[in-house]
């Protein structure tokens, strides 16, 4: 993958994410973690190669079908990307609204999820009034509210302290236990080691490790 005429950021990557699996994506800044996630959540097109999701070549999918594929992927963006003019509740409900669900069908679910991520008392709040940790949890709630098949998170613990990072990790583990495939891009080695989950490690755009428990693990 390359941006415009720039050199390739990602090259010669071959890997599978089994349904229901949990992986970390590690690598230094600029290694290509965010770019790899963008390819998976269909924000970018590969300049060469092939990406298959849910048994379909994503580049062969017609433009009008791509939104349906995107709805099966929940994304926690590094910079949250919350809609500043909407309340926490409205932000969280966004994917369900886009999917065409009636408010009466999901009001209670959204309220319950916000309670689950610790935002029960902040449902009316605008993102500007939330702390970094609250924004992070709201972004996670929005990513998972529609029960996506895959959850992608880009540095989800980058803006929170260690205690919150552990809570967020537990949240992802719980979501994975409920059936979602999880891929978390992070450079938090401690978090990776603590979780004991398999790791995809990127270095200069190439995947050099694909195994369990981070650096030095099985290739």
């Amino acid at each position: 993958m390359r941006y415009g005429r720039a050199p390739e950021i990602l090259k010669d990557l071959t890997f599978d994410l089994a349904p229901g699996s949990f992986h970390f994506l590690t690598g230094a800044s600029g290694a290509g973690k965010s770019s790899l996630l963008k390819l998976i959540y269909l924000a970018e097109h590969p300049s060469r190669g092939r990406i298959e999701m849910f048994g379909r070549d994503v580049e062969a999918i017609a433009a009008h079908d791509r939104p349906h594929l995107r709805r099966r992927v929940g994304v926690v963006f590094q910079e949250f990307r919350l809609l500043e003019h909407l309340s926490a509740f409205d932000n969280c409900a966004l994917p369900l609204r886009i999917a065409g669900r009636k408010p009466s069908e999901y009001r209670e679910d959204v309220a319950e999820l916000l309670g689950w991520v610790g935002l029960k008392t902040r449902m009316h709040a605008l993102p500007a009034t939330l702390s970094g940790g609250e924004k992070q949890r709201l972004a996670i709630a929005r990513a998972v509210v529609a029960r996506p098949d895959i959850i992608l998170a880009d540095e989800p613990t980058g803006n929170v302290d260690h205690g919150h990072a552990i809570r967020i990790l537990k949240l992802f583990v719980e979501l994975n236990r409920l059936g979602s495939t999880v891929l978390i891009a992070t450079h938090d080695e401690d978090l990776v080691a603590r979780s004991g989950q398999p790791v995809l490690h990127l270095e200069a755009g190439r995947m050099i490790r694909y195994g369990r428990n981070g650096p030095g693990a099985d290739e």
Partner: protein, 298 residues
């Protein structure tokens, strides 16, 4: 403890685009002005059309006979004989010989008072009112005059009527052209505003897009927003134009502001479609612009 300021059971989805935008005021003003001009044009065209129809009807229901006396017969006698001959023609309601003074009064605006000297031979005129239902033709009148041995020229006003009808036609097409130009300008302004809106709300659009929103879903947000803004603007513009027309009607009494543009209260109804047309044009322009730009997001 739950949020004391929020009851999920009473929640209704908030608008996905920010409610207020600094550009909206300017857009409403521009579209309101365009609608105002379009409505005034339409009202003016209706009044001009009414004037043209009135003049045409007046001219079509009458004819003027110019009598040239023969031999020793006096002009007044020749005119009286012509009127008598025409009065019996089928399709003539009334034929009346005009006195010399009336003929001079008709010519005075063109020749001036000083030119109306005694020694200039003044033709005598016969004014003929035709039956509006079955009017006699110029040929019928000419035939009757010849039968009575009167030398005269029949003017059935067909040249004037043709000129007026051509003028009215040009006014109608010009008004339609102006209205179309205004509609095109409004569409261009809305298209520009949509592109500016898409650029300003790119962050919102990207989140919607990456959350699985279809192009149509996002385009509809802009379509609804600009249709509402243009409809509101159309209401302001139409109300303004209707007020101006009403004032003109009141100031001019039954004739309207001027006999050239006789306004009727019914003409004010021409502004009624303006808000709906403005909203429709805005919706189509916004949708086309949004669709084209969102296609680039893939």
């Amino acid at each position: 403890m739950s949020d004391p300021l929020f009851d999920p059971a009473r929640w209704t989805p908030a608008p996905l685009l920010p409610r207020r935008d600094a550009r909206d005021g300017a857009l409403v003003f521009v579209v309101a002005v365009l609608c105002f001009l379009a409505c005034l044009t339409a009202i003016g065209a209706l009044a001009a059309d009414r004037a043209a129809r009135g003049w045409t009807n007046q001219l079509a229901d009458s004819a003027t006979i110019i009598v040239q006396p023969k031999g020793a017969e006096s002009p007044d006698a020749a005119a009286a004989r012509a009127a008598e001959a025409l009065a019996g023609v089928k399709g003539v309601a009334e034929a009346r010989a005009l006195e010399k003074e009336k003929a001079e009064a008709l010519l005075e605006p063109w020749l001036g008072r000083e030119a109306l000297l005694e020694d200039i031979p003044m033709p005598r005129l016969v004014s003929v009112e035709l039956d509006p239902k079955t009017p006699a033709s110029a040929a019928d009148l000419d035939k009757a005059l010849k039968a009575a041995g009167v030398q005269a020229t029949v003017d059935d006003h067909s040249v004037w009527i043709g000129d007026i009808q051509r003028g009215a036609g040009v006014a109608r097409w010009a008004a339609l052209g102006v209205c179309l130009l205004i509609a095109a300008a409004a569409a261009a302004v809305i298209g520009f505003a949509t592109r500016a809106g898409l650029a300003a709300h790119r962050d919102v659009i990207e989140v919607l897009h990456l959350s699985g929103a279809e192009t149509g879903f996002v385009a509809r947000l802009f379509q609804s927003r600009f249709a509402l803004a243009a409809g509101t603007a159309g209401l302001f513009g139409a109300t303004g134009a209707a007020l101006i027309a009403a004032l003109a009607r009141l100031a001019g009494g039954g004739q309207g502001l001027t006999p050239v543009l006789p306004l009727a209260w019914l003409d004010l109804a021409a502004v009624l479609p303006a808000p709906f047309l403005a909203a429709l044009i805005a919706a189509v322009a916004a949708r086309l612009s949004a669709d084209r730009l969102l296609k680039d997001l893939g």
